[in-house]
Symmetry: C2
Subunit: 211 residues, 2 copies
């Protein structure tokens, strides 16, 4: 169990098995962690519950080995089943208040927001961090609302929670994102689709640390 | 909260919103309960978590009004979120042992099985009842394994749990099902797709009680 306070949100990896292009998910995540990823979210929208559970179990052994928090997207039952460190909910997932009731106060709960209003509501509702996006156009989540860099900065300035930016973030644009003052950058394809996930994570980590 | 012992499994309704043909889900379930349905399972495979949660909440107000147990298909998080009476898991859902750990001993957990081996495993694992099928061909769940009436009878005879048969059960064949000695018949289209869900449930109830 990772302690909830003092979590390093700086390089937040969100999985997407569709983007692996033949690579192994567990090996990819492990290389990414060795390259500097500080937190991993397992996101699965197509799997049956049993397969989701099995992937979460296996991923947990990897994140536990490196002492990295594992966050489960959407599914509080999977988070409980593998004793994950937390849950990430979007606006179409379980309401934050209900998720908190199910998971208790010790688990991390992150909420996807795309406006100051949603951010303040999530903060008031007891979220532990905010996922804000999509910052840049992304093929991973075509239906996502978009948030400009100034919009991202406003959300960071008007809330007191850690803010992780998401959506189309790559080595080439991560500095512009971090310069808004946010606590971290979430990446999907920049690491998952990379032929060298370790190198991709390492480059991102260096650029983030320079900010 | 419905007491776990002494549950009447005789006419078990499984929802399917696709079969409503314009009818309202809540009104359909309410009429079915008035017609004799003794237990309701909310089964949703296509909804996002938030919508599933909202339907479960609304259905719970109906089942609570009539003191009928509400079982949630597959999703332990939704079962917890609405404090449903139980969870039904298939062989592709969460393993029974994990579901039990999440839900605790007071909740009903049913398991879909299609062989004596699966039935005995579910019994040993602490299931509260068995859903056995598909007994007859069904358009609702095309990928289901099939179980003959003698196969159903064998499962009932070789286990000590309540057995609910499922798959293509209608007024015309429910007697043959109940004559195997099972504790109940689960229906989907026979009630959900009926133009008169009350009448359909009433006819099924009478035929079940005659056995």
């Amino acid at each position: 169990m990772v302690c909830k306070s003092g979590i390093d949100y700086s390089l937040y990896l969100v999985t997407d098995r569709q983007l692996l292009a033949g690579k192994d998910l567990l090996a990819t995540v492990e290389q990414a962690i060795r390259g500097g990823v500080t937190l991993v979210q397992l996101r699965e929208k197509e799997l049956c519950t049993r397969e989701f559970y099995h992937w979460a179990q296996r991923l947990k052994t990897v994140t536990d080995t490196y002492g990295i928090p594992l966050i489960i997207n959407d599914r509080a039952d999977i988070a409980l089943a593998v004793d994950a460190d937390g849950l990430h909910v979007g606006q179409e997932d379980m309401p934050l208040s209900v998720a908190r009731q199910i998971l208790g106060t010790e688990k991390i709960i992150g909420v996807s927001v795309s406006s100051v209003e949603e951010a303040l509501a999530a903060q008031a509702g007891g979220a532990d961090y905010l996922g804000v996006g999509a910052i840049f156009a992304t093929a991973t989540k075509r239906d996502a609302d978009s948030v400009s860099l100034p919009g991202l900065q406003r959300i960071k300035e008007q809330t007191r929670l850690p803010v992780v930016a998401i959506g189309g973030i790559q080595a080439a644009n991560v500095r512009r994102v971090m310069e808004t003052g946010v606590d971290g950058a979430a990446v999907v394809s920049a690491v998952i689709a990379a032929s060298d996930p370790y190198g991709a994570a390492l480059t991102l980590t260096r650029r983030i640390k320079e900010c």
